[in-house]
């Protein structure tokens, strides 16, 4: 696989460079950071558990390096706009926080630096960086674009099936559904009634609609947004089957599901009103916290159900990359921070503080799988995911708006799945045409 080769080459280059320059044991963060003591680096953080975890780790980094990390907090919905405006205006951000669907946009605009600029510098790069330790799917999807790695995975999610084990047992089930059809036809009827619902699929008209709802039902059924020629694949039988399944499944969801965002969905499960949800692994902490969840003892976790095409769970998460607009010192300091916060050595601490690292090694540590019961499902999900779960090219911000609009109209039965897919496909292709994918001026990378 091309990507694995690149990774190995990078790791080898970094190792060789480090080895030639000085003994491996000589590298320390403190020494590497000495020239940059006093430098301030600016980074956007989200209001999510993984960022709170990193924030708690910061004093250690700052005291070791003398580098000051200035955090600018934004809710997810504002994070892209704020960063785009900063990069366009040549602002202050030294680190880009990149959702996997923004990577093409950031890379193609030249707002971020490839990591080999830093891994090739033995003075800056920890010999124990070990890029191979990241889950290949995660580093490829979150930090890579068109064969180049720009960012290291920082806040990592996979879609998981969170369920109320007690409700399922009361209904006579000994475990969660293995497949989507089982969820609908077997679990749905028996878990819905008396104000309770078998399942809730967050579908609010924002990224939740396109990522958590629309895409989630495309891939397991063999569908996709685009075919190999970058034409709309939404009218294909497989895509239609997934979209129709979503319509049918709505009978087992709470009314008004198109207004459900993550908070409402997680709360539905946490309050015992909904038996199952498919949500990001990051919500584990909320569901496991007695002050926000009534089902702490009943909470159980499994990988997302399989469809005819396999599991193909939702994939989402963020990498951090060094911003091109930063000056040399800021870039070096930013790299040292990114490398440190995503390191193997810090992965356990990050996990304990509420983050979800993408380091394979941490999940093999004794006791981790037992202490964090979402780990086995998470690790399994990161084997089956698709990097282009949502296309990661620069045009996604425009396309996601179209998906959000027409995906919601489909759910509200304002148009049929075929009509919605037809219009959505035409608009999606118009955006791609204007971008130059069909004229050959842009490679068909997603």
């Amino acid at each position: 696989m091309k990507f694995t080769k690149i990774l190995k080459k990078l790791a080898l280059a970094a190792g060789l460079a480090a080895g030639l320059a000085q003994p491996v044991s000589a590298w320390t963060l403190e020494e590497a950071a000495k020239p940059y003591a006093g430098t301030t680096i600016d980074v956007v953080f989200l209001l999510r558990p993984g960022y709170e975890a990193a924030e708690k780790m910061l004093p250690e980094f700052e005291s070791k390096t003398g580098i000051k990390v200035n955090i600018i907090k934004h809710p997810y919905e504002n994070a892209l706009g704020e960063q785009v405006r900063d990069f366009v205006a040549g602002g202050d951000l030294d680190i880009a926080l990149i959702d996997l669907v923004w990577i093409g946009n950031f890379a193609e605009n030249g707002w971020i630096e490839p990591i080999d600029k830093f891994t090739s510098n033995p003075e800056l790069t920890d010999p124990n960086l070990d890029l191979d330790d990241f889950f290949p799917l995660v580093i490829n999807a979150f930090g890579g674009w068109n064969g180049t790695i720009y960012g290291l995975p920082f806040d990592n999610y996979s879609g998981l099936l969170f369920y109320n084990r007690c409700m399922l047992e009361e209904a006579g089930f000994t475990g969660p559904p293995e497949s989507w059809t089982e969820l609908m036809y077997v679990y749905g009827p028996r878990l819905t009634g008396d104000g309770k619902y078998a399942y809730a699929l967050q579908s609010k008209r924002n990224e939740t609609q396109s990522a958590d709802s629309f895409a989630r039902m495309l891939w397991p059924f063999g569908g996709s947004f685009l075919d190999e020629n970058f034409r709309s694949n939404l009218l294909s039988p497989a895509s239609q089957s997934g979209l129709k399944f979503r319509q049918d499944l709505m009978q087992f969801m709470p009314p008004g599901i198109v207004s459900y965002d993550h908070a409402e969905t997680v709360n539905g499960l946490a309050q015992g009103d909904v038996a199952m949800i498919t949500e990001w692994s990051a919500f584990y902490a909320t569901l496991k916290n007695p002050s926000t969840s009534k089902i702490v003892d009943c909470l159980a976790i499994a990988p997302e159900p399989k469809g005819p095409a396999g599991r193909k769970p939702a994939l989402g998460g963020f990498s951090m990359a060094v911003a091109s607009q930063a000056d040399e010192d800021e870039q070096a300091a930013a790299w040292l921070f990114i490398q440190w916060v995503t390191s193997k050595e810090n992965a356990k601490k990050y996990l304990e503080l509420g983050g979800v690292p993408a380091r394979q090694s941490v999940y093999n540590l004794p006791g981790v799988a037992e202490q964090y019961d979402y780990v086995p499902a998470l690790v399994e999900s990161w084997q089956d995911g698709v990097p282009e779960f949502r296309p990661r090219f620069a045009e996604w911000p425009e396309i996601t708006e179209i998906v959000q609009e027409w995906g919601t109209k489909i759910m509200l039965n304002e148009v049929t799945t075929e009509e919605g897919a037809q219009i959505l496909g035409e608009r999606m292709e118009a955006v791609l045409d204007e971008a130059g994918y069909y004229s050959g001026s842009k490679p068909l990378a997603q």
């Binding site: 785009v84 946009n105 008209r205 008004g256 911000p397 609009e405 509200l412 304002e414």
Partner: protein, 293 residues
Amino acid sequence: MKGKVRRRTIFAFLGPAIVSLAVIGIAPLLFAAYTSLHNYNLTKLRKVKFIGLDNFTFVLTDPVFWDAMQRTFSLLVIVLPLQLLIGLGIALLLHQPGIGLLKTLTRLSLVVPMATTYSVVGLLGQVMFNIKYGVVNQLIGFIGIEPVNWIGDPENAFIAVAFWDVWQWAPFCALVLLAGLTTVPSEIEEAARLETPSWWIVLRHVQLPYLIPGITAILILRTADTLKLFDMVFTMTRGGPGSATEFVSLMIQRIGFRAFDQGLASAQALILLVVTIVLSQLYIRYFYKEVQQ
């Protein structure tokens, strides 16, 4: 020379205001005009090119834009008369003689809704109209009405937004109209009341002429505010479900700041600006003409 002010002094006084206006108001407007004539996407600044009136042509033939415009005007024609009527009712009640303390407290409480930040009003609405935990469904439950899916149903979401806007701005109308009522000379009003027991005749022929300037101001301000209504709806429904509450300003924000197509968004915003100016001129022409007569 008495009465002659030096040119430098004039500039010193007027300059800051003119410069501020130019920087804050005129420059962005000119930049919007510039971007509206270009293919100007923030994430594709290397590909900016002049496209003439293409953005305007696209907007004027785009059914999504006209749908949003229609929703916005539907909201306007529903909420504006309601706000005026409720405001007038409150103003007339407060204009009655007696119960001074109660009237003072009422006047003070009328300020609360409009003093509340728009986005906070929207967030409150999101919580209060929640189908399961919202206080609105609890209240209507006391009179035996089943819980209503306010935010998740397209029609109900529109009603909820309209209701919320009326709640926030009817008090403003009440205060403006109450101020208008206080300008009616008391001897004329008392004489009219001696002539007729009909409150309607007093209102129509004595009080209303004094209210016309206030009503015109309300029409202009509330029309402009409704056409650019954003914060409350954004935090309450985010334009959903579907497009049920995607008013024109939300659509412009979506195009300009989420899809980053600043050129198209600027064209939409300029068209909205023209519509607002035309409406304001119409109000002034017809209502002010009446009051001048």
